[in-house]
C-alpha cells in the first residue's frame, strides 16, 4: 500500500479480464466498459485512481482522458486520493441512522483516532461515510472491501479493527467476525 504508482500497467491476468469485459459490448461501443474497468483498475492499483491510472484506462479503451476523468469524478465508489489498506465505508442513511449508525461511526473515529475522510498514519485504515448501501434490514452496517459487515455494535467494531488491521488483510476476503 502506498501513494507512489510507479508502473501503470495491468497484470497479464487483469489485462485478459479487461479485454473480456470490452468484448461484452458492440463494436465501437467499448466505452461501455469504462465503469467495470475503472473498478478493475482501482483494485489493481492500491485502491485508488490516480491521473496516470485514469490515463492508462483511457488508452486501453481508446477514448480521451477527459472522458475517464468526468466519469471517475461523478461516481462515489472511485477514490481519487490514496486510501488505507482497509477502507471502512459506513452507511449513515435513514434506517442505519435509526439503528445507531452515527454512534458507531463516532466510536470508530475515536478508536482509530481519525475522522471520516481520513487515513491512519500507518496507512492501515481509512474511514468513509456513504449513502444507502441497501442493507437497511441489517443496520447499522459498513462495507469493507468486497463484503458487507452488518448489525454492527461497538464490540463488533473492536473485533473488526483487530482482525482487519492484521498484515494479511485482503479486501476480497470475507472475514467472520
Amino acid at each position: 500500500m502506498g501513494t507512489v504508482q510507479s508502473e501503470i500497467k495491468f497484470s497479464e491476468e487483469k489485462l485478459k479480464k479487461a479485454q473480456e469485459i470490452i468484448s461484452r459490448y458492440p463494436e465501437s461501443r467499448q466505452k461501455s466498459a469504462l465503469l467495470p474497468i475503472l473498478h478493475l483498475a482501482q483494485r489493481e492499483f492500491d485502491g485508488w485512481l490516480s491521473v496516470p491510472v485514469m490515463d492508462y484506462v483511457a488508452t486501453l479503451l481508446n477514448i480521451k482522458p477527459i472522458e475517464v476523468y468526468e466519469v471517475a469524478t461523478f461516481y462515489t465508489m472511485f477514490n481519487l486520493k490514496p486510501v488505507g489498506k482497509c477502507l471502512i465505508e459506513f452507511c449513515r442513511t435513514g434506517p442505519c441512522m435509526h439503528n445507531r449508525a452515527d454512534q458507531i461511526i463516532e466510536y470508530t473515529e475515536k478508536k482509530l483516532g481519525i475522522k471520516v475522510g481520513e487515513t491512519t498514519t500507518d496507512n492501515k485504515f481509512s474511514l468513509k461515510a456513504v449513502e444507502c448501501l441497501g442493507a437497511c434490514g441489517y443496520a447499522p452496517m459498513a462495507q469493507i472491501g468486497k463484503f458487507y459487515y452488518e448489525h454492527l455494535t461497538e464490540e463488533k467494531m473492536d473485533k473488526i479493527i483487530a482482525r482487519l488491521g492484521q498484515e494479511d488483510f485482503n479486501p476480497d476476503n470475507k472475514y467472520e467476525i
Binding site: F74, M77, R92, A135, C136, K146, F147
Partner: protein
C-alpha cells in the same frame, strides 16, 4: 401461511446452484415459452397478469413492453435494473443473492419476448459479491444450454452480461442508467424519445427492475389469468417488501398484495410488531422518497377505511393523507424517532445523489439540507419551516427526472404531518442541539405547555 411465488424455494438447501434450482422446477418457464409460445404470446400473458413494475413507479409491465419499437432494424435490448439504492429498499439484493437463477430465468423469457439477443444486468457497484453470484449463475445456465446460441434448439440466441455501476442513486432512473451503461456520467436524458424507441446505443430498449423480471417466471408457469386472480384490484400478484426500522423482525417478505398493513407490521409471520416497550410513530411504506404517514393514517385512511398493502390503498387520499407502495421499502419508526432529524438525513441523501443537471434539484436539495441542518441543531426559525415547503414546491415537477420529486415529497409530507415537531425545534433549541433523539418522546407535551 401466505402464498409464495418468488420465494417458494428460498429455504431449499443449495438453491443458489443450477442443479438444485432445476430439480425444484426451475427453468420450466423457459422451456414453455421457447418451445410452445411466440414472443407475442409471452407478452400477452404478462399483459393479462396485470403485473406492475416493481421498481417503484408501478407502470404496467406488459404495456411498457408493447411500446418497444419492433419495426426498427436496430438490435433491441433488455436492461435489468439492479441498481437498488433507495433507502429502505433491499429486496432485489435478497433475490439476487439467494435465488439468482430466478432472475436469470426471468431474463431469458423476457428477452425472448422482446427479441433481445444481448441483455445487461446493471447492478449497483457496491453489491460486488453479488456480481460473482450472478456471473456464476449465468455460466451455469449457459453450460446447461439455457443461454448462448440456439437455446433448447429453438433458434433463439441470448447472452447476458453483468455491469456494475459506480455508486450513484440516480442511475436507478432508466435513462441515467442507460447513460451509465454507455460509459458516461449518470445524467438522465430528456424524454421523449423514450427508451422503447431510442435507448441503449440509440436502439429500442426496455428497462425493467429485478423483481419485475423475476415475476415473469411464475406468470408464464401459471398463466397470466391465474396470476391476476392473486391480489386485490389492479394490484395483482405478490410483492417483495423489504422491512426495516424499529421492528422486531426486519427482513424481506413476500406478500400477496392486499394484505392488511396491520397484519404485515404486527403479525409474527412478518415484521413481528414494533420493538418491545415502544409505539409506532410513523411509516414510510415505499422507500424514502414516498410521503411519510403518521401511525393513525398508516393503519386507516382519512375516511377510516383499513389500509392494505396495495398500490391503490396506500395512495388513498393522494399526497394529502396517503402515500405510495413505491419500491416496497418499508421503514417503520417508533416514538423515539426525531422527525426533523429523519428528514434532514433523507434530504442529505437526495442532495448528495442529485446529478446536478437541473438547477432546482442541484441547488434546492442543498438549500433544504442546510435549512434542516440548522433546524435540527437548534438554530432554526419559524420562517424556515415555510421556506422548506416553498423550496420543495419549486423543485417538484421542474426537473428532467423524478429525483427532484423524490427529494420534495418527503419534505412536504414530513412538515404536513409533523409541523408541531418542527416548531418544537425552534422553540426549544437547547433540547435538540445536543440530544438528537432523546427529545422526541416528550416534544408534544412540552410544546403544548408553551402554546398554552
Amino acid at each position: 401461511m401466505a402464498r409464495k411465488l418468488l420465494l417458494e424455494n428460498i429455504n431449499v438447501p443449495g438453491v443458489k446452484s443450477f442443479n438444485v434450482y432445476r430439480a425444484n422446477g426451475g427453468y420450466r418457464s423457459v422451456e414453455k415459452a421457447l418451445k410452445t409460445m411466440s414472443p407475442d404470446d409471452v407478452m400477452e400473458e404478462v399483459k393479462k397478469s396485470g403485473l406492475r413494475g416493481r421498481g417503484g413507479a408501478g407502470f404496467p409491465t406488459g404495456m411498457k413492453w408493447s411500446f418497444l419499437d419492433r419495426k426498427s432494424d436496430k438490435p433491441r435490448y433488455l436492461v435489468c435494473n439492479a441498481d437498488e439504492s433507495e433507502p429502505g429498499t433491499f429486496k432485489d439484493r435478497f433475490l439476487m443473492e439467494y435465488i439468482p437463477h430466478l432472475l436469470i430465468e426471468g431474463l431469458i423469457v423476457s428477452s425472448y419476448s422482446l427479441g433481445s439477443n444481448t441483455t445487461y444486468i446493471y447492478i449497483r457497484g457496491e453489491y460486488r459479491w453479488i456480481v460473482d453470484i450472478l456471473e456464476n449463475a449465468i455460466a451455469e445456465a449457459k453450460h446447461n444450454g439455457f443461454l448462448g446460441k440456439n437455446i433448447l434448439g429453438s433458434g433463439y440466441d441470448l447472452e447476458i452480461y453483468v455491469q456494475p455501476g459506480g455508486g450513484a442513486y440516480i442511475c436507478g432512473e432508466e435513462t441515467a442508467l442507460i447513460e451509465s451503461l454507455e460509459g458516461k456520467r449518470g445524467n438522465p436524458r430528456m424524454k421523449p424519445p423514450f427508451p422503447a424507441i431510442s435507448g441503449l446505443y440509440n436502439c429500442p430498449t426496455v428497462v425493467n427492475n429485478v423483481e419485475t423480471l423475476a415475476t415473469v417466471v411464475p406468470i408464464i408457469n401459471m398463466g397470466g389469468d391465474e396470476y391476476a386472480k392473486i391480489g386485490v384490484g389492479r394490484s395483482t400478484g405478490t410483492k417483495l417488501i423489504s422491512a426495516c426500522g424499529h421492528m422486531n423482525k426486519p427482513g424481506v417478505y413476500e406478500i400477496e398484495l392486499g394484505l392488511p398493513v396491520d397484519e404485515f407490521l404486527n403479525s409474527d409471520e412478518y415484521c413481528g410488531g414494533i420493538r418491545a416497550g415502544h409505539t409506532l410513530k410513523a411509516v414510510v411504506p415505499g422507500g424514502s422518497s414516498v410521503p411519510i404517514l403518521p401511525a393513525e393514517l398508516f393503519y386507516k385512511t382519512k375516511e377510516g377505511v383499513a389500509r392494505l398493502m396495495s398500490y391503490e390503498s396506500l395512495s388513498e387520499g393522494g399526497f394529502a393523507s396517503g402515500s405510495m407502495l413505491g419500491s416496497g421499502g418499508f421503514i417503520a419508526m417508533d416514538e423515539t424517532t426525531c422527525i426533523v432529524r429523519n428528514l434532514w438525513n433523507f434530504t442529505r441523501f437526495y442532495h448528495h445523489e442529485s446529478c446536478g443537471q437541473c438547477s432546482p434539484c442541484r441547488e434546492g436539495t442543498g438549500w433544504m439540507e442546510k435549512v434542516l441542518h440548522r433546524l435540527e441543531h437548534g438554530h432554526g426559525s419559524m420562517s424556515d419551516i415555510d421556506l422548506l415547503v416553498d423550496i420543495a414546491k419549486k423543485i417538484e415537477g421542474n426537473t428532467i427526472c423524478p429525483l427532484g420529486d423524490a427529494a420534495a415529497w418527503p419534505v412536504a409530507s414530513h412538515i404536513r404531518h409533523f409541523r408541531e415537531e418542527f416548531e418544537y425545534h425552534v422553540k426549544f433549541p437547547e433540547k435538540v442541539a445536543h440530544s438528537p433523539f432523546a427529545h422526541s418522546v416528550d416534544y408534544k407535551r412540552e410544546l403544548n405547555t408553551v402554546l398554552q
